[in-house]
């Protein structure tokens, strides 16, 4: 249809034009990421693990929980089992591949949950100030002052540990950190002219917080979310290692180390390979965060 172009682009861009602009912006961002070596290495590592996790059902040579009794006599890496088998004759390579899946779902989900909850709390505290700020800040301080790993032990040992419980405790304990960051930025941003303009237009506080303030606070937020994801991977591994992580027998990197590190004098490979897997994934996320921060500082 022939709409008057000049008027259309000024007030409301056509969907195609808007999409093209978003695409351009993303391409520019990706190109910028490529300029930073840490960011590039980080992205490659993370994407490699995501691909391996997605393809696990296709490329894993054995079912993750299948016991190969014949392999028990010779558990070290061989042609049949590239990374060897564990003490129950399960193929370590297959378990590592399958074990990437829960981690790569739980860690980002918990970060998203924490970001959503933390942003809301931080926005409310910074925007309303006064007693809202006081209550939210104090509650956050209390949660933050608690040594989190002890909190996890008490909660997970009490309620039992499932993927959802782990996501829940990670969300609740990470949200205050994000709330603190967002609150600080909101205090600064709420004095800007465009916020005053929105207020005068009669927009609701919720609209102002979510549409006017939050998008301008996203830079540090993205870097922090990236760091949190890596940190969550460490915690999920640690919980598995302590025996309060995802329930067996499905493969979980931390749990694999817990089952086998006692046998390190005889078969160090059983614990070493899952340790290498989890370390590389966290290194990937943290390098990405370092790179993003560098890029953020540059402009």
């Amino acid at each position: 249809m022939s709409t008057p172009i000049a008027a259309g682009t000024l007030s409301r861009p056509t969907p195609a034009a808007a999409r093209a602009r978003v695409m351009r912006r993303w391409r520019r961002r990706l190109a910028a990421l490529g300029e930073s070596t840490p960011a590039t290495v980080g992205i490659v590592i993370v994407l490699a693990w995501v691909t391996l996790a997605l393809l696990a059902p296709l490329i894993a040579p054995y079912p993750p929980n299948a016991n190969d009794m014949t392999a028990l006599a010779h558990t070290t890496p061989s042609r049949a089992h590239w990374l060897g088998t564990d003490h129950l004759g399960r193929d370590i390579l297959s378990r590592i591949l399958w074990g990437a899946r829960p981690v790569l779902v739980i860690a980002p989900l918990a970060v998203l949950g924490a970001a959503a909850l933390g942003s809301l709390l931080g926005l409310a505290a910074g925007y309303y100030g006064r007693w809202v700020d006081l209550v939210i800040t104090r509650v956050c301080d209390i949660v933050l002052s608690f040594p989190v790993i002890i909190l996890y032990m008490i909660i997970l040992a009490h309620f039992g540990s499932s993927a959802w419980n782990i996501i829940g405790v990670l969300t609740l304990t990470k949200a205050p950190i994000i709330a603190r960051i967002v609150r600080g930025m909101t205090l600064d941003l709420r004095e800007r002219e465009y916020v005053a303009a929105a207020k005068m237009r009669g927009e609701s506080p919720l609209y102002i917080m979510l549409v006017e303030i939050l998008p301008n606070a996203r830079g540090p937020l993205v870097v922090d979310m990236c760091l949190r994801t890596g940190y969550n991977v460490i915690i999920i591994g640690a919980l598995g290692f302590l025996g309060i992580g995802l329930p067996p027998p499905d493969p979980d990197w931390g749990g694999m180390v817990k089952d086998t590190y006692g046998m390190m004098m005889v078969w160090p490979h059983m614990a070493l390979f899952p340790c290498a897997a989890i370390s590389s994934l966290v290194v990937g996320f943290n390098l990405l965060a370092v790179g993003l921060r560098e890029l953020g500082l540059r402009d």
């Binding site: 301080d141 002052s145 040992a157 302590l242 180390v257």
Partner: protein, 312 residues
């Protein structure tokens, strides 16, 4: 100064109340649960009911909480079902072990990370800076248990220089000092990675200030610019972070303690939680929070002492 202390003490009390109430209700909300945990899974329902009545557990949770606070105030922390000893003795013993580990680790972390952080941050983006930044990022990314497994596979399995466990019992031909090497190394590496990046960031920021440029342009040797002008200001922000590490070193090292079978505070709480040893969980949580808040206050105090601008 007086106001500062009063405000923080109030917050400490508030936090302790909040946490004790949360942990108490979490563990003891349903009356039958406590008796069930004490008697174990094989007790009959009648036995559970009887103990519930005997212990007065069928009273409202708030009444029991007030009772519990009263017992706490008189110094009675209860009896640990896991360790078969009074909770006070159990906590004290494990806390002392952890304090030993934490003190050695802290004494290594502070000078090491200050040195690396300052050296990296004094010339931003130099080759040395990049190397230290990458090293600390990678080291801080490796989970403690993985770091423990890596170090143990080299020094225990391959070279056989050190023992793989640190039970603090001088057995198996290994001295306690040798046992402590690997746990301390894991903690120091994991934690220093984080502290180094914090000190570096602060140092980078200080080096961009005008007074540093003045000092350089005035012709002062670079050494004295760093040591006499930059260092003190660069340590302002990190000093709070360094104090917060004490908290991690005492309550957060449960993973390292588990790797090396070290009889410390964190592992004590893990065992209490898995064993459903209610009295020990409650008291342990309180001790952990108390330490956390106190180190927080100490961090703020140290910051005030270093920065004359906010010394009230």
């Amino acid at each position: 100064m007086k106001r500062f202390v009063a405000k923080h003490l109030l917050f400490l009390l508030l936090t302790l109340f909040a946490v004790s109430f949360l942990v108490f209700t979490l563990n003891e909300f349903s009356p039958g649960a406590v008796a069930r945990k004490i008697l174990g899974a094989y007790a009959t329902q009648e036995q559970v009911d009887l103990l519930t009545k005997q212990m007065g557990l069928n009273r409202p949770v708030l009444v029991r909480y007030v009772d519990y606070l009263g017992a706490l105030a008189s110094g009675d922390l209860g009896y640990s079902t896991r360790f078969k000893a009074p909770v006070r003795d159990v906590i004290f013993r494990h806390l002392a072990n952890t304090a030993l580990l934490a003190a050695i680790a802290f004494a290594c972390i502070v000078p090491l990370s200050t040195l690396l952080g300052v050296v990296a941050g004094m010339r931003e983006a130099s080759r040395l800076d990049r190397a230290i930044l990458m090293f600390s990022t990678v080291i801080a990314s490796i989970p403690e248990f993985a770091l423990g497994v890596f170090l143990a596979s080299v020094f225990v399995v391959w070279l056989g220089w050190l023992p793989g466990t640190a039970t603090l019992v001088a057995g198996g031909g290994w001295s306690v000092a040798a046992q402590l090497v690997l746990p301390v190394a894991v903690i120091v590496l994991f934690d220093a990675g984080y502290v180094v990046s914090m000190i570096r960031a602060s140092m980078v920021e200080v080096m961009q200030r005008p007074y540093i440029r003045t000092a350089v342009l005035k012709g002062l040797p670079f050494r004295s610019v760093i040591l006499r002008h930059a260092l003190r200001n660069a340590m302002l922000t990190p000093v709070t972070i360094i104090m917060l590490q004490i908290n991690y070193l005492i309550a957060g090292v449960v993973v390292v303690e588990t790797v090396f079978a070290y009889p410390g505070f964190g592992r004590m709480i893990l065992e209490a939680a898995l064993f459903k040893d209610i009295a020990l969980i409650e008291a342990g949580a309180l001790v952990a929070v108390f330490l956390a808040v106190v180190t927080n206050i100490l961090g703020d105090l140290a910051y005030m002492l270093l920065d004359p601008r906010i010394r009230a």
